[in-house]
Symmetry: C2
Subunit: 442 residues, 2 copies
């Protein structure tokens, strides 16, 4: 692991990059040859690029920052926290690039405008196919790179997007045909403010390589390419998964997050859930007399309330993911309720049967539960049906309710739903118990 | 929503596609004009394409199935369950395509070989740049499409991959240069059996548009393009999320899954968890005397064991995701343990303080817990530290242990970890309680 030679290849550097501290990363980076360093740098995430740039002396920052495409430069500026550093970075750029980067900085990082590159190949509708191809060749040779040379965007005099042609389309057309006669005019475009998750669903659904971004007048603003979307999809899934596990989304990979950050991101929800779960202590206080009369009720308490939590976690997970993929919309809420009532009932009955048999079999084998074992078995079975049905309903509706209130459905985490189900499950359990056991154990 | 006109545009059809039954989908699909139908079909997922093809009369299947690229055709064959239908589909293809499709069918769907297209542009190293560009133009015009025209793969006489050049590279080079003098030779390739998740990590890390697939002799087998990877990333995340929520991965979108499938996929784990949770009933049975003496212990039971479950869910979620992204490897297990011990202890102390204060404050306000309230507060606080630390450790190690045993780490779902934490948490709670309360309440 320890590499103390004075030169490194980028492959060697990459092999343990994630395990190095920021200082070690920069000092190792400096050991690369110029060519290797250039390639290595281009492959880094924006966060790592920013880290290197900010850890280099001012004079050396220059080269690397200017090597970035405007969308990546904007990401680096966005990752930089101090205002002074941000300004210093912007000052390094030449005027036109600074203009582009500043324009990109007006968008949030997670919308189409924040992901797009303002550098694309635009042609007029009256270009011939041959002219278009020559123009692409010229642009490909330029120092300032366009994001993709594989699509040309046809704009009218007001910069409105009127058509698109892929290089494949161009190659298939006769060289003297006009672009306006062969371009595609049934266009899929996105607005500048479209959320990156919805955009990634479009890419996945239509198998696209690039999507043009237009403003509300239909003027072309930039292009988002699919290679950036792979990152987006992974990031969004990671954020959702972390929230669904009951933590805040982390800002860095697991092993790179500091212990302090980990505790901070995890303690918040954990404390909220703990406070919520305290309601079970209050509810049980209320049922203290029943518990004192029939301690046996306490034996099945974790079993019954966890069944509701588990059923609820399943339902919320499925609904959250379906919403993220755009498979389920808010207006589908009633269809979800209908389905989940049937499913919750079926699952509840299956578990109820298992729970019922547990009590009956244990009684037959070990004579554990006394003369009223059949009533206890019925209490367990009956509560499980209610608790599972209720947990399933709560779990499936909570993500929809959160979305309706403008919050992230993924916050309906498994632990959150389980906590809700615990508190209500307990009430269901004791209600069923006092009805069934009234006059015997209670 | 109801569209009874005799003609439809594909936009109209797409708007409610997911809500239609298979029969409605096919009957609406037939209402599209030929051009619209062709475009609509190309945009569908392989599953939907298969559904349409199999619901069409044999004579009409022909056209649509032959329109597919070999990798998509292989997907359709793979989605088809009956052997007779599979053979019928294969028979529709012309001999060379059938050969390609059959070769693809030898790979699992979720490895590089199963995702690649065998159609790519291959040139000899001695081609000139100009010849290469002309060759690309010719291939782009052919009826049988190559997967990507934006990369050419340079193969030697034994079909071994020796270099790659992008169209951009070609455009930048002088036309009479030899391809072997301008191609990239530092190649990133993947083996045929590489798992799609690891492949997607490569795409994300390096921002690639395409990756060549080679066999163990370095011979080129096909190419995987990034547009297919977006689907893969989404699918993999969905599978992981569903497993992490404690269900089996669904085969279809939420609203398209039948109630029966839903119950089947959810009942399995739910029953296993229920059986596991039954251990809490047995453990509590063992502590029945303590419970009878101090019913007050039952009041905090759900609170304490759920704290361990929640902490464990957080830890397992973070580790599972980090493993899926390749941020954490099996060999990092000790670093994870070190971190999680510190984090678990910190989280446990925070919650313990909250729990301790809850008892003390309630006692001051409502005189609820009697003369030994301070001992009870200590019991609650002490157990919470132990339970949270233990839950955190179990949650973080379980995914690693599952991977070590060749199982999917994502099976360490929040409900699974919570169940484990419940059973052990209970033992921790009663052990702490009997030590602290011995001679007073117990």
């Amino acid at each position: 692991m320890d590499k103390t030679l004075s030169t490194l290849t980028r492959k060697e550097l990459r092999s343990n990059w994630d395990e190095l501290s920021a200082e070690e990363q920069v000092s190792n980076f400096k050991k690369l040859s110029a060519v290797e360093a250039g390639r290595f740098f281009a492959e880094l995430e924006a966060r790592d690029q920013a880290k290197i740039i900010l850890n280099l002396p001012m004079k050396e920052r220059h080269v690397w920052f200017r090597a970035l495409d405007p969308d990546d430069a904007a990401d680096v500026v966005q990752e930089t926290t101090s205002d002074k550093d941000r300004q210093a970075l912007l000052d390094m750029l030449d005027a036109p690039t600074r203009h582009e980067v500043k324009a990109l900085l007006t968008y949030a990082e997670d919308v189409a405008g924040g992901l797009m590159s303002p550098r694309y190949i635009a042609v007029r509708p009256t270009f011939s196919v041959d002219e278009a191809i020559s123009y692409i060749r010229r642009r490909a040779r330029e120092h300032v790179q366009v994001e993709t040379i594989y699509y040309i965007y046809v704009l009218d005099n007001e910069q409105r997007l009127v058509g698109v042609a892929s290089m494949r389309d161009l190659f298939r057309s006769s060289p003297d045909q006009k672009v306006q006669d062969m371009m595609r005019t049934q266009l899929l475009t996105v607005g500048e403010q479209l959320d990156q998750e919805e955009m990634s669903n479009l890419f996945a659904k239509h198998g696209l390589m690039a999507l043009p971004v237009v403003d509300d007048q239909g003027r072309m603003k930039g292009v988002v390419t699919v290679d950036d979307i792979v990152d987006v999809v992974k990031e969004e899934a990671t954020e959702d998964i972390q929230k669904m596990g009951g933590t805040e989304a982390l800002d860095a990979p697991y092993l790179q997050s500091t212990i302090q950050e980990m505790v901070r991101k995890r303690a918040g929800w954990l404390t909220i859930l703990f406070l919520g779960e305290m309601l079970t202590a209050s509810a049980l206080q209320y049922y203290q007399n029943e518990l004192a009369k029939a301690v046996i009720l306490a034996l099945f308490l974790p079993l019954i309330i966890s069944a509701g939590g588990n059923a609820g976690s399943q339902a919320s997970t499925l609904v959250i993911r379906a919403m993220a993929l755009g498979e389920v919309k808010l207006r589908d809420w009633w269809r979800i309720v209908e389905r989940e009532i049937v499913i919750g009932l079926a699952l509840g009955l299956i578990l109820a049967l298992v729970g019922f048999l547990r009590v009956v079999v244990w009684e037959a084998a070990f004579k554990t539960y006394g003369e009223y074992y059949m009533l206890i078995a019925l209490t367990v079975g009956g509560s499980v049906v209610g608790v599972v049905l209720w947990g399933t309903l709560v779990g499936s509706l909570l993500p929809l309710i959160l979305r309706r209130c403008g919050m992230d459905p993924a916050s309906a985490s498994a632990p959150f739903v389980a906590t809700l189900a615990d508190v209500t499950g307990l009430i269901i359990y004791f209600t069923v118990a006092s009805n069934i056991l009234h006059g015997t154990l209670l």
